[in-house]
Amino acid sequence: MHLLEIENLTKRFGGLTAVSKVSFDIDEGEIVGLIGPNGAGKTTLFHLLTGFLKPDSGTVKFKGEDVTGLEPHKLVNKGIARTFQVVRPFRHLPTIANVMVALECPRGSKQIEWLKTCQRKAMEMLEDVGLSEMMLEPAENLAHGDLKRLEIARALATEPELLLLDEPFGGLSPIETAYLTHTIERMHLDGRTVIIVEHKLHALMKLAKKVIVLHYGEKIAEGTPEEIAKNKKVIEVYMGKAT
């Protein structure tokens, strides 16, 4: 049984079909890259998988259970977490409180007993991503790279089995990119399954064992990074037709 099974997922916005009959399977422990030119429907697909949009047709099965169209918080509590392309921290809360919110949900709070331990757990998570110094800083004062890490810490706080990262490397310096790569590898070692949407193909191809390519809402290719790099259709889509 696959961890995640998607079948014929479709979403239309008026006349525009953002996601069209996309199907693929993800197994436990994989790191999967989801790539495609801008507007291919990658983020929309994420919204569909995490309950922020309801599909027009198609099914999503998580661990064999049909979870199509469930509300976001229910999916999180089943073990699917995500980050956002444009970071959405809780601006008024201190950094540590951002993580504490995630620990408050039913799934997150299973790891904690009382308030003090919640704070300790949150502190640990911040240390994991290297943000422990800014613990008490209001999130709105953090730099962009730090906010990206905070997003990930927040997602990890819900103890997900499947983690969807939307352009996590966006706007990061080379050092931060290396650090994040390391963090994702650690997640992989922890046994988590990760789907990464990313434009920085260099960083992505190093991490992912399987890559899925979307174009105008349709899946046009699936395979290992090497296969995808050689795939004619993919090259056409990214580079334009060869004359």
């Binding site: 916005f13 919204h47 309950g51 922020f52 949009l53 309801k54 976001p72």
Partner: protein, 309 residues
């Protein structure tokens, strides 16, 4: 209303049309400032009320001049109308630049501030004119009969003027240079600024139009239909504007027109067919608003899509 059953339908037809036309103006003002400046102006209904009172004040006989309005002479209805509308328009621009613009980014603050303004206007009017209902006299005497229903000329005037003005303003926004600037600001404020458009001034101008429209609607309604003015009468027009704009769809002028007629008819239907219906006017508007938000948040012709399930 004692018209006999058959006449009720004709009355509904006609009164609903008038209401629709005037509400269209009111809602147009509301949706304009929302589209251009992204401001939900909770004081829109208060500007409506202010318009009615200004008209009342400017058309008073010389022996009862309001204290601090420097008009010791009674104006003829036509002039009183124009002065009142311009005065409220200016008030609108002033409150925009002084109060609304500074807090435009903070949602809670802008709501609190605009509601506070509404209450300021209510209190000011209450202090100046007292809480007693003030009679607003229709500006054109006489009436005629259409389809067996008595229609005052004022009502007909209100209907015609509203539709004409609506058309004029829609054309203005569509064709003129300023209209283009308004549309640009509405689409993307920062981009408009980069194009050299002074967005603050454009917003002030939009606010002038918005407030004037609200004031005109206030004068037309109180002059033709309700014939009273009270300090508290800002909540109902506000609910009305909300309901119409949500029903018609945010950002759509066509939707505003259609939504206005639907709400106008609904309101009159309730008033005519239900006992004690006139109190329920505000409730009708709210009911429409809540139902639209629950069933189809985009409204009829809405344009903005939000990321929520």
């Amino acid at each position: 209303m004692n018209l006999g059953d058959k006449a009720l339908i004709e009355a509904l037809l006609l009164y609903g049309a008038i209401a629709g036309a005037v509400y269209a103006l009111l809602a147009l003002g509301f949706t304009l400032i929302y589209g251009v400046a992204e401001v939900v102006n909770m004081a829109h209904g208060a500007l409506f009320m202010l318009g009615a009172y200004m008209f009342f004040a400017f058309s008073l006989a010389p022996k009862n001049p309001p204290l601090w309005i420097a008009s010791p002479f009674a104006l003829e209805s036509g002039w009183a109308l124009i002065v009142a509308i311009i005065a409220v328009g200016i008030v609108g621009s002033i409150i925009y630049v002084l109060v609304i613009n500074p807090v435009i980014k903070d949602a809670l603050a802008s709501i609190v501030v605009t509601v506070a303004l509404a209450i300021v206007f209510q209190q000011a009017v209450y202090i100046e004119f007292g809480g007693v209902h003030r009679a607003v006299f229709p500006f054109v005497e006489g009436s005629t009969t259409i389809l067996g229903v008595t229609m005052t000329y004022t009502k007909l005037l209100a209907f015609g003027a509203s539709l004409i003005l609506f058309a004029i303003i829609s054309l203005f926004i569509g064709k003129s240079k300023i209209g283009k600037a308004m549309r640009a600001t509405a689409q993307d404020r920062e981009a408009a600024m980069l194009m050299g458009i002074n967005t603050t001034r454009i917003c002030m101008f939009t606010m002038f139009i918005s407030a004037s429209l609200a004031a005109l609607a206030g004068i037309l309604i109180s002059g033709s239909t309700t014939q009273v003015a009270t300090p508290q009468m800002w909540l109902t027009p506000l609910s009305m504007s909300f309901a119409i704009v949500i029903l018609g769809g945010l950002g759509s002028i066509k939707g505003t027109l259609i939504g206005a007629f639907i709400v106008g008819y609904a309101e009159n239907a309730v008033a005519l067919y239900l006992p004690g219906g006139s109190f329920l006017k505000g409730v009708v508007a709210l009911a429409v608003m809540v139902s639209v938000l629950l069933i189809r948040p985009k409204g009829l012709f809405g344009k903005r899509i939000e990321l929520e399930e």
